[in-house]
């Protein structure tokens, strides 16, 4: 046996010895396989099961309480204008870093031609970025972002302002609903490299329990709910 295999065998045999079990026990194996295959839901909080309007209200309320800004945009034009206004208002360069997301590309960018777009992963010099959220769970105002060329992970952490666009139809109640949607796309038991659950701008309370925003990631998170 290689040292790696030895270490593995040692830990597993210690566990089995202490538990007084065998690794070949069919009943135990079945119990584990069943549980992994079924991935049954546990209790889901009542707050996550509201009507659509209640979920939007909760999504907005939770995100705001956690320090994010939320814009409800009825049309894609409104969403783009809100981004441009935000950049101007905060005296930021009119430049956005974003990935290859087809839905973001299809937005009517011509309503704000002054906003320049750069594509690819985030660089240190980028001040503002835009991602599209895969989904959200209203129960805690949590956005789900998935890694990939469409929405590279660094967009969510390097720039000081992060815009996230989410279609209203993608706002779910509970985390579990979003994981089921991920399973439907990536397959049972599979996830992309990174699934980021984001519930506000970066913050720290390490010094004297005083909350300060923009610890290492974005100082501001601006969420645009479209539709």
């Amino acid at each position: 046996m290689t040292p790696t295999a030895q270490a593995r065998a040692l830990i597993l045999s210690r566990i089995r010895e202490r538990l007084g079990v065998s690794g070949n026990d069919r009943g135990r194996r079945q119990a584990v396989e069943e549980r992994l295959r079924r991935h049954s839901r546990n209790t889901i909080p009542g707050r996550a099961k509201g009507e659509r309007d209640a979920l939007f209200a909760m999504m907005t309320e939770m995100l705001s309480a956690q320090g994010a800004e939320v814009t409800r945009a009825a049309t894609p034009e409104e969403a783009i204008r809100a981004i441009a206004e935000d950049l101007r208002e905060h005296a930021l360069p009119l430049r956005l870093r974003m990935g290859d997301d087809a839905e973001l590309a299809a937005l009517p960018w011509d309503v704000a031609p002054e906003v320049e777009r750069a594509f690819g992963k985030a660089e240190d010099a980028d001040r503002a970025s835009l991602s599209r959220a895969f989904a959200a769970a209203a129960e805690t105002g949590t956005l789900f972002l998935v890694s990939g060329g469409d929405n590279p992970t660094t967009l969510a952490f390097l720039p000081e302002v992060h815009f996230v666009l989410i279609r209203a139809g993608d706002v779910a109640g509970a985390y579990e609903e979003v994981f089921d949607r991920l399973r439907a796309i990536y397959g049972e038991g599979k996830l992309p490299r990174t699934v980021n659950l984001i519930s506000g701008p970066s913050r720290t309370a390490d010094i004297e329990q005083t909350i300060v925003r923009g610890a290492h990631g974005p100082k501001r998170l601006h969420v645009l709910i479209l539709g």
Binding site: L10, R14, P45, T140, A156, G189, L191, N196, S199
Partner: protein, 476 residues
């Protein structure tokens, strides 16, 4: 490892109580964590139900831990990552160093990880010529002070901002000495700039894991700062160092525990960032690490299975038991002389390092039971501390006087007639000694105890005598 010998704990606890700066800093625990936890948990009506489920999830997982580890490893491998097993702390250190060397690492960034503290990873890597940068703000401060974390969630809860400003002036090079660092905002801004440079230059990123998921082979980290994400996204290699009991079966099980973790720990409904990482970046991903490794640490945990301390393996390191412990609140984390302080540390430290290193810790408790009440995993912490006391006693380690007193008491308590006769004689005697004040200021053989406290004297009659009288008067 840190030695907390008998005298050390008493001395350091005494020193902590007299430290005005520390006492001012500790007041923040109640102001922050305790009040926020109460609000967050009472705002979720299902909190108690989730707690029961979380306990059951962990109990089930621990009973099948060998099989879940196998399943987890299978999924990690399938997603392109690699699992390494480390029976001891030394094994884990060696594996991480070997991986860093393979990656040609000169600079390593780290997310906050108690397990990496447990295995003393930084010193090992630095000894091999690799620069290590802690990136959690609290851990960065600990690193530049050459200090130790005093809390498992808030490492610098023992410090005030003025002390931290002095450290920054000393440790951050190339900045004007007279720059303004008077506010927490100034300090955070400076740390952000200093650490951003490290993030961008790092070759390897090391994080811990709050959870490992068998269903998908994912590691989960929870942060507010986003430092863990920059650590595991920017460098070309991501190494996760986690202990074997972090496994949960499914994403649904992870959801249940995540609903309890932040609410119990920091009193948030959810931490700002919860990140599921699975394998290395895909071929066409524009960012993310090219290699993904998980080092699974045992270091005494498998020995806890099937015994008196198995329940401790449910712990999710939220810190609620520290925040609500009157002893922790009075002396802070350092006085325990152990990496893991407070009630969870009092149980875990003797398990991981031996009772010889931590005899006082299971005694550093008022046994008020608050820790168990607020524990999101319903761990019977006071009962386990009592277990350690029993074991310590059975081994014959407590001082002779304490032993003889307890043995005498046990001898009498097992003989009711003798017990009643003795109690009936001693109680009125003590009552007479105490006089009108009803308090005893000194006691023979218990001078240390009465030097800081008075013993309320018995009223004169024993409970049994009063009970008999009551029964007689009822019967009449």
């Amino acid at each position: 490892m840190n030695d907390a010998s008998h005298q050390d704990f008493k001395t350091s606890a005494g020193r902590a109580l007299d430290d005005a700066k520390l006492q001012r800093a500790l007041a923040n625990v109640k102001r922050g964590f305790v009040i926020k936890r109460e609000r967050a948990s009472s705002n979720l009506p299902e909190f108690a139900a989730l707690r029961e489920e979380a306990r059951a999830i962990k109990d089930h997982t621990l009973a099948h831990l060998d099989l879940y580890l196998e399943a987890y490893e299978r999924e990690v491998t399938e997603s392109g990552g690699k699992v390494h097993y480390a029976p001891s702390a030394a094994d884990a250190r060696d594996i991480v160093l070997k991986l860093c060397r393979e990656a040609g690492a000169r600079l390593v960034t780290k997310g906050k990880s108690m397990v990496s503290e447990e295995i003393a990873l930084n010193a090992h890597l630095e000894g091999a010529g690799i620069e290590v940068a802690e990136t959690d703000l609290g851990e960065h401060i600990i690193q530049i002070r050459d200090d130790a974390p005093s809390h498992i969630v808030a490492p610098v809860i023992h410090l005030n901002k003025e002390e931290i400003a002095e450290d920054f002036v000393r440790a951050h090079p190339g900045l004007p000495k007279d720059r303004p660092l008077g506010t927490v905002l100034d300090l955070v801004a400076e740390a952000r700039a200093v650490l951003r440079a490290k993030f961008l230059a790092a070759d390897v990123g090391i994080t811990g894991a709050n959870l490992l998921i068998a269903e998908t082979g994912s590691s989960v980290i929870v942060t507010n700062e986003g430092n863990g994400d920059l650590t595991e996204t920017l460098p070309r290699m991501h190494i996760v160092v986690a202990s074997i009991e972090k496994i949960v079966p499914t994403l649904e099980d992870a959801c249940t525990i995540l609903r309890l973790l932040a609410r119990s720990g920091t009193g948030q409904d959810i931490s700002t960032y919860t990140t599921f990482a699975t394998g290395p970046a895909a071929a066409d991903d524009p960012d993310g690490p090219r290699a993904y490794h998980v080092v699974l640490l045992d270091n005494g945990r498998s020995e806890m299975l099937g015994g008196d301390f198995q329940d401790m393996l449910r712990c999710i390191r939220c810190g609620a038991c520290l925040n609500h412990c009157p002893v922790y609140g009075a002396i802070g984390g350092h006085a325990y002389g152990s990496l893991y302080p407070g009630p969870m540390g009092a149980v875990l430290t003797p398990t991981l390092y031996g009772i010889d290193h931590a005899r006082d810790l299971p005694n550093a408790s008022s046994f008020c039971g608050r820790c168990e009440q607020v524990c999101p995993m319903a761990i019977p912490l006071p009962a386990m501390m009592r277990k350690w006391r029993e074991r310590d006693f059975e081994r014959g380690d407590p001082p002779l006087l304490q032993r003889s007193a307890l043995l005498l008491w046990a001898f009498a308590a097992k003989r009711p007639r003798l017990y009643h006769a003795l109690a009936g004689t001693i109680a009125p005697l003590l009552a007479r000694l105490a006089g009108k004040r009803g308090r005893l200021t000194t006691l023979p053989l218990a001078g240390a105890w009465t030097s800081t406290r008075d013993l309320p004297a018995p009223e004169g009659k024993t409970f049994h005598a009063l009970y008999r009288e009551m029964q007689r008067s009822k019967a009449r």
